[in-house]
């Protein structure tokens, strides 16, 4: 499945490089979730992640010719990550609150809440761990590596974050 998916991504990238802009739609179907949530895990909010996703696909449209084969999905993710970092660098007007300031608030209530709302209520680090593991498919070892913590700690944080999300989601 992974291989097929990657082949389809590669094919779509080559079609885009050949000027078939409609292939971007296919590429979007294949990669948008990973693109969006990779950006979200870096930026920590949906609005910026949407901008990063838009910039990513726009960039791909312009630069697909630079794709020279290999893991197409990873190539797309690298573009997404760069776009997210660019937004992080350029757009953030003030410093991020630290984990303690944005710690999950169990008393918050919202109507029509979704799991994505619950995710958004987590602290930046927890958000990053859950997104990376569930939506971007990274292993705990990879997450631990990125965050500079032990694999065990990453797993524990993940479990705690999931419990918080569940409480929030099911409690409402």
């Amino acid at each position: 499945m992974k291989k097929q998916n990657d082949e389809a991504c590669g094919k779509a990238l080559r079609r885009i490089a050949d000027g078939d802009t409609q292939a971007l739609s296919d590429l979007y179907d294949l990669t948008s979730k990973t693109v969006f949530f990779t950006a979200y895990s870096i930026l920590g909010n949906y609005q910026d992640a949407e901008d990063a996703a838009q910039n990513t696909f726009y960039e791909i449209l312009k630069c697909a010719k630079n794709y020279s084969g290999g893991d197409a999905r990873a190539w797309v993710v690298s573009v997404a990550k760069r776009q997210a970092l660019k937004i992080l660098r350029d757009r953030r007007p003030v410093c991020e609150l630290d984990d303690a300031d944005t710690e999950y608030r169990e008393t918050d209530h919202a109507e029509n809440l979704t799991l994505l709302d619950a995710l958004d209520r987590l602290s930046p680090t927890d958000k990053r761990i859950v997104t990376a593991h569930v939506l971007c498919g990274l292993t705990f070892s990879e997450i631990a590596n990125e965050l500079g913590i032990s694999e065990d700690a990453a797993q524990k944080r993940y479990r705690r974050a999931i419990e918080k999300m569940k409480r929030y989601y099911e409690g409402n």
């Binding site: 802009t21 948008s32 690298s78």
Partner: protein, 333 residues
């Protein structure tokens, strides 16, 4: 809810979220997804509606027609049973369709989850800009050292692979050579210049000895603005000063902008100006970094030029004015 179910549900919501965003993203990229539907597909809902109405009419008509035939009571009983049978079958079909749809949705979700977990096993290599050699070359070059042809080729290849749109050879080319390159690529020189990206990601801020190219300073921008009559003249002069350090982006509204990075006279800072052709404005940004933390920076900005300033009598700006008017930049600026 167990963890698997929870993860599945989160994936499902995420799928829905990105699906809902697709039109906006495609639109911002100038891709009309509706175009790709062949005419027959566009007509499908109408065709389906006609077929459904026809089938419905037939279903409703059969029992009535049979009833109106005026046969024996025994037949009538049989027909009633038939009628019931038809309706029962109809509901049955509907239920079955619903089940199929649910199964299909379920399968989609499972497929996605499967893909996700398979991706997990393969380490994704992000080609972030962290190559010390690249930093070394850039710094040597910015310090006026001439790199060898082989080094330039190596650096060009690196940049081509890691920064999109950069062509170092273009940046170093003469005006005539640039024209030829742009022509070869089927774009005008201004567009070509705008595609030259030179930025480094947050992880590398502080690694380079300085950011951007030396010809541009805030004083130089003030001079250009003060010497120019209008917006076009300003951006032309800025372009002449440092042609190859601009980067272009497409804002969410679909319009283009240009960014010119330059060296900051202060430590832990970088400066740039953003040019927005759509509303003839230029904004100066000063970003102060804490080099110990890539997550941490403050972006201050001030308009150097916009339509209001253009209409004003006195266009003269000074670096002091800029400093005094800088304030934290945000989306409401």
């Amino acid at each position: 809810m167990n963890d698997k179910k929870f993860e599945k549900l989160l994936n499902k919501e995420a799928d829905k979220y990105v699906r809902e965003n697709k039109d906006a993203v495609m639109k911002s990229c100038g891709v009309d997804t509706k175009k790709e539907k062949p005419a027959i597909l566009s007509a499908l809902p109408a065709v389906a509606a006609v077929v459904f109405l026809f089938a419905f009419a037939v279903i409703c008509y059969i029992p009535v027609a049979l009833k109106n035939n005026g046969t024996s009571s025994g037949t009538e009983t049989a027909e009633t049973t038939d009628t019931d049978g038809i309706y029962t079958q109809d509901f049955g079909t509907e239920t079955s369709v619903t089940e199929e749809t649910e199964t299909a949705a379920e399968t989609t979700t499972e497929t996605t989850t499967e893909t996700t977990s398979e991706t997990t096993t393969e380490k994704v290599e992000y080609d972030l800009i962290s190559d010390d050699k690249f930093v070394e070359y850039i710094n040597r070059e910015r310090n006026g050292e001439k790199l060898s042809e082989a080094e330039i080729d190596e650096l060009t290849e690196y940049i081509d692979n890691n920064y999109f749109g950069i062509d170092l050879k273009y940046a170093r080319a003469s005006d005539d050579e640039r024209k030829a390159i742009a022509e070869e690529r089927g774009v005008d020189e201004a567009t070509m210049n705008a595609y030259i990206l030179l930025w480094t990601d947050a992880e590398n801020i502080g690694k380079l000895e300085y950011y951007g190219y030396p010809n541009m300073t805030i004083q130089k921008i003030c001079d250009i603005i003060n010497e120019s009559e209008n917006f076009d003249e300003i951006i032309r002069k800025i372009g002449e000063t440092d042609k190859f350090l601009s980067q272009v982006w497409q804002k969410t509204t679909g319009e283009y902008g240009y960014r010119y990075d330059f060296k900051s006279s202060e430590d832990n800072c970088y400066e740039y100006i953003d040019v927005y052709p759509a509303d003839n404005s230029i904004m100066y940004h000063k970003v102060i970094n804490d080099r110990n933390s890539k997550e941490y920076h403050y972006n201050y900005a001030v308009y150097l030029w916009n339509k209001d300033i253009e209409k004003g009598e006195n266009h003269h700006i000074t670096t002091d004015q800029i400093k005094d008017n800088l304030r934290l930049w945000n989306n409401d600026f």
